[in-house]
Symmetry: C2
Subunit: 286 residues, 2 copies
């Protein structure tokens, strides 16, 4: 998905939010803002939104001098999600259609996105998503694809959401490779974050080879996934891609990708032709 | 009131909104965005928000090649407000405290702010503001000041809101000088806009001498009010200042100014120590 003009004010707001969340003082916040203004002026208009987000969050990390400013928030997110794990297991044991429930739980976890600082109650979100109609429901194609493949490549997103991903992976009847980021960016899960959520017990964990949000397959800035990850991606028969940044980077990368997400941003909503607040199980196109 | 870092993303969003409302095509929107990014990078951090807003909206006017891009919107706003004029007169005739009702009507009209594109029903807004408690109520000092002076300088704000101002002016027992902008900026009222609302029948209309929002008394950019208007301002014994931009430019200009406004922006809300959505009748300080 291309970067829209509406993304520019939002990047500036995100930079300020991120700097504050990372503990930046007034001067550091001002430095971040100045550097992001310069970045946005010079940005290649063909960049994907997560490519710009990558640069914004690198500026924040540099200015506050902390390689993982979301560390404490991420740890709290995983704890919060792990507390709900037994309740999620109970839901699955009682479910008539465990895959449907597990997909919804995984989508519910996508609320844990630090780019959006709306207040939410995590269990209320679970209950909402369990009851909500899909705005796009390619569930039939998803089940059909799942029945054909020997392995799934699962592209993670936020820390904490990892626990919800684990529940879906435990419900799948097929081995899973779980991809995390190559290093901290925003509150995205790294290998360490995924391990705390217990993902190493249910999947093979790999990383994208780059500390950038989403899954950037090609990049003019040389900030794409590693060749090794790219090979894994190309060879995958079925890809589950979580969250907005993966949608933004992969929405036109073909039918083997299934996006599971909550739509939190009006630009993505318009691009996907659905209202903000929607839940999607959407097969990729070209 | 100083410009906060939170104002920067908002200026960028406002620029895009304004360009679209002014009919800018995709390329013009991009040009506006690029120029506003450059502006924000170089801006003097001691600028008042309306000084930056002034430059943002001049960029929009230049890029779309229209000296008054809000013309149609302004005309519609005045028509809409004039339709409510008879109902407002009836409310006043039936009022136990006509001044209180007229002040509230004037504040209700402050909803007609093109910088905020929230949907609203104009008469519902009137009913809300008639029933709402003031977050700051310096009404006693205002009445006392009104009883002492021979003339009021009334600083207008948006077009359409002008009709609500007229109702308040008709209720005051003292002659009024009504100040409009020296030329089009955003949807602020100019002399022509005020005349359509009938203000020339109830007040002497003057202009600030500059096509900038708010009331910029001094400016490093040389975009302040004219010397003639400045003299009028200095000599005024009591000033009624409508809306956010007048609050932003005059909030520390002393106790002869009374601000009547709806708080629509979180930064002003924080500065004034009140929630967004508040109504204020607030005496100025130093």
């Amino acid at each position: 998905m291309k970067t829209y003009l509406d993304c520019y004010p939002c990047f500036l707001r995100q930079a300020l939010d991120a700097a504050r969340l990372a503990g930046a003082d007034q001067n550091q916040q001002k430095e971040v803002l100045g550097r992001v203004l310069a970045l946005l002026q010079g940005v290649d208009s063909s960049s994907l939104p997560p490519e710009i987000g990558d640069q914004v969050h690198r500026i924040v990390r540099q200015e506050v001098g902390d390689g993982d400013p979301y560390r404490a928030m991420k740890q709290a997110s995983t704890r919060r999600a792990l507390e709900l794990y037994p309740r999620m297991r109970t839901l699955l044991e009682e479910a008539d259609d465990p895959l449907d429930v597990a997909v919804r739980l995984s989508i519910a976890g996508n609320i844990m996105d630090a780019a959006f600082d709306r207040e939410y109650d995590l269990w209320e979100t679970v209950e909402r998503v369990l009851a909500q109609s899909f705005a796009v429901d390619d569930g039939a194609a998803f089940r059909e694809a799942l029945s054909r493949v020997d392995r799934v490549l699962y592209l993670g997103d936020n820390t904490g959401e990892t626990v919800f991903d684990r529940v879906l992976i435990e419900t799948l009847d097929v081995p899973v490779t779980y991809a995390v980021k190559g290093g901290p960016t925003l509150n995205d899960a790294t290998r360490e974050d995924a391990q705390v959520a217990g993902l190493d017990r249910v999947a093979e964990i790999v990383d994208t080879g780059v500390d950038a949000p989403g899954t950037i397959l090609h990049s003019v800035q040389g900030r794409a996934c590693s060749a090794e990850f790219r090979r894994l991606y190309d060879e995958a028969e079925l890809v589950i891609a979580k969250g907005q940044a993966n949608y933004e980077t992969l929405s036109t990368e073909g039918a083997k990708v299934f996006f599971l997400l909550q739509v939190k941003c009006p630009v993505i909503a318009r691009d996907a032709g659905v209202p903000v607040g929607s839940i999607l199980l959407k097969q990729g196109g070209m």
